[in-house]
């Protein structure tokens, strides 16, 4: 297909894809006092900043930002490394029963999260991890590992095994081969997993709701979700504004890391 045709198709679909985002922003910018649902597509006024200020005041989001940032950076980073190590063990080091071990790790993602919430709460409050940042980091890490291991294991299967053997012949230790050879060549996959998991952690609602209570431990979306309620509370446009605000960091993260994916990291060179 010609480049022009491909570009036009992508532009048209891209615009369609952004229509809901347009609606989100336009309606988040409407004043709650004059908001109607009958003119969804038309920007009527610009109260976005006022709505954001209202959302900040209602929910006390400020306290949650720092801890959420820590969770969204530390947990995915650890999970990416742990997952890569698992993939390396199975593929490069040819761990015996590797597939079985892989299924064990991947199995951590197959059941619905709701099912482990209450036992986790019980366990956490007994060992003193409830409502602590360490507790949140641990659980977010564990949740992120299966996905990370899955992608990394499959990524490493694409690497010819003689890459590993050649390094062994050069006298490198397994740790060195992992850290200096396998990790760098997987950088685009590592970054992709990190971003996806950081986004997941940043947007998590369930775990935060169950395992934390203090304003400085609770993640941001959990705080945000409290704003909307049948029993009064914030108006739709205020909640949408809060949604826009909370989403900004992850959107920016996606934009900034685009260049990682632009690089064609060919495995063939190894």
């Amino acid at each position: 297909m010609s480049r022009i045709l491909r570009t036009s198709v992508l532009v048209v679909f891209g615009v369609i894809w952004l229509l809901p985002v347009y609606l989100l922003i336009v309606n988040a910018a409407k004043s709650p006092l004059t908001f109607t649902s009958t003119e969804s597509w038309v920007p009527t006024d610009f109260s976005l900043l006022g709505n954001i200020a209202e959302a900040l005041q209602l929910s006390g989001l400020g306290d949650s930002v720092l801890s959420t940032l820590i969770y969204a950076l530390v947990s995915p980073a650890v999970a990416v490394l742990v997952g890569a190590a698992a993939g390396f063990a199975i593929v490069a080091l040819r761990l015996k029963h590797g597939f079985a071990w892989f299924v064990v790790i991947f199995g951590g993602t197959v059941f619905p999260l709701q099912m482990v919430l209450l036992p986790l709460f019980d366990g956490y409050s007994r060992v003193g991890l409830f409502d602590t940042q360490l507790g949140m980091i641990l659980v977010y890490t564990a949740i992120s590992i299966p996905f990370s291991a899955f992608v990394m294991r499959n990524f490493f299967t694409g690497v010819a095994h003689n890459v590993f053997e050649a390094a062994v012949l050069d006298g490198a230790t397994t740790w060195r081969i992992f850290a200096r050879l396998y990790l760098p060549m997987a950088s685009s996959a590592l970054v992709a997993i990190f971003i996806l998991q950081a986004t997941f952690v940043w947007n998590d609602l369930l775990l935060g709701l169950t395992l934390s209570q203090s304003d400085n431990v609770r993640p941001i979306v959990t705080t945000l979700a409290g704003m909307q309620s049948t029993y009064g509370g914030a108006q739709l446009s205020t909640v949408l504004a809060a949604g826009v605000l909370v989403s900004l960091p992850t959107v920016v993260l996606f934009l900034l890391t685009q260049k990682f994916f632009a690089r064609g990291l060919a495995l063939g060179q190894y």
Binding site: T36, S37, L58, L118, R126, V127, L129, G226, M227, G233
Partner: protein, 423 residues
Amino acid sequence: MNSRRTKIGAAVAALAASAMLLAACSGGGAADSGETTGTLDFYTNKAAWEPDFDELNGASETSVDISLNTTGYSDADQYDAFIKQSFRTSKSPGLFTWQTGSSLTELVDEGLIAETTDIWSNAVDEGWVTEDLRETYTVDGKQYCVPMNIAYWVMYYNTKIFEEQGIEVPTTWEELDAAAETLKSAGITPYYQTSTLFTFQWFQQMVAGTDPELYEGLSTGEVEYTDPEIVDIMNMWLDQHEAGWFSDAGSTVDPAVGLKQGDYAMINFGSFFNGSLDGAGMVSGEDYDMFVIPKTNPDLERTPVAVESGPLCVAENAAQKALGLAYSEWWMSPEAQTAWSEARGDVAFNPKATVSDPMLDELGTTVASDDYLVYDRYYEATPTPILTVALEQFGAFIANPGDPLPFLEIIQAEADKYWADQE
């Protein structure tokens, strides 16, 4: 790397030990510290009210030297599960919001809630609460918890639409029907409805408005949902549907916004709805008003009004039990209720409190008179498993109105199962 491993190792050992504990024992809890001043940890499923509770801290600090540290939960169902689980741990709450009816009885039966009989006796003597309300908080002759809020389920209406159509506030069921007909013929949908969650209020309204004993019988299992009288009421509801009196079930527009933009003229809701309408930019008494829905059966002596009351409870084994009870005691006072009404803008359960919104003040006075009969809202009056099925079936009926019997049969099947288990 090593220190991280060690940390993880320690956490692993601790969690493994906890899992064994978990299986072996139940009923945790900590000793009551006995303190009656300080910061009280407070949990609520009405997360949106957090700023109002914070606002109240000024008054409570001055009076009894207690301030609330509020944690709000947005998901009511998960909140319930969290509270129940917390009784098994050292985290049982010194103060938390709950529901009346079978949810409260369930906790009391397990001995998990601190008794508040003394607080109630004092409050009744002082004339701070009515005996009627006390009933709602009584299990086996003793009182538990104190009322956080009280709401009456009434009819809100868009005053502009009523004026334009020359409609007077209906005082009888016939007038209400006539108003609906007038609106419909003018091309305006009379009533709001939704097919999720709040699907019960019109059923509740018509059953209690026809015969309060019939309504009572549903909640105790003495009356079946397939009872001919219930079927008749459902058919009346079906006729109203066919006349086009209800809003589109597929609409997800915020009900307050819908009333504002005239999607419908009336909406049956709890009196806490003022807050949402104010937030949507409507002015109380000017853009919207409310009336008590007339009785469906004109032969009834008193007009039944659904009431909803959310309790503030103290866990029996909480470390902050004394502190929670001290706050509960203060909460009942006119001073606290006046401050609360100012912060939240609700009907006050305490007749001696001053209510800031004149509309709500008037409602409270009206309903307290002898012409009205207050009954528990369907949501609290119905045992949870039956309620879940009923809310779904009413939702299905609202979405696709038709012969009511199949819907009622499904609810009754669940009711049969539930009441059989209770024996």
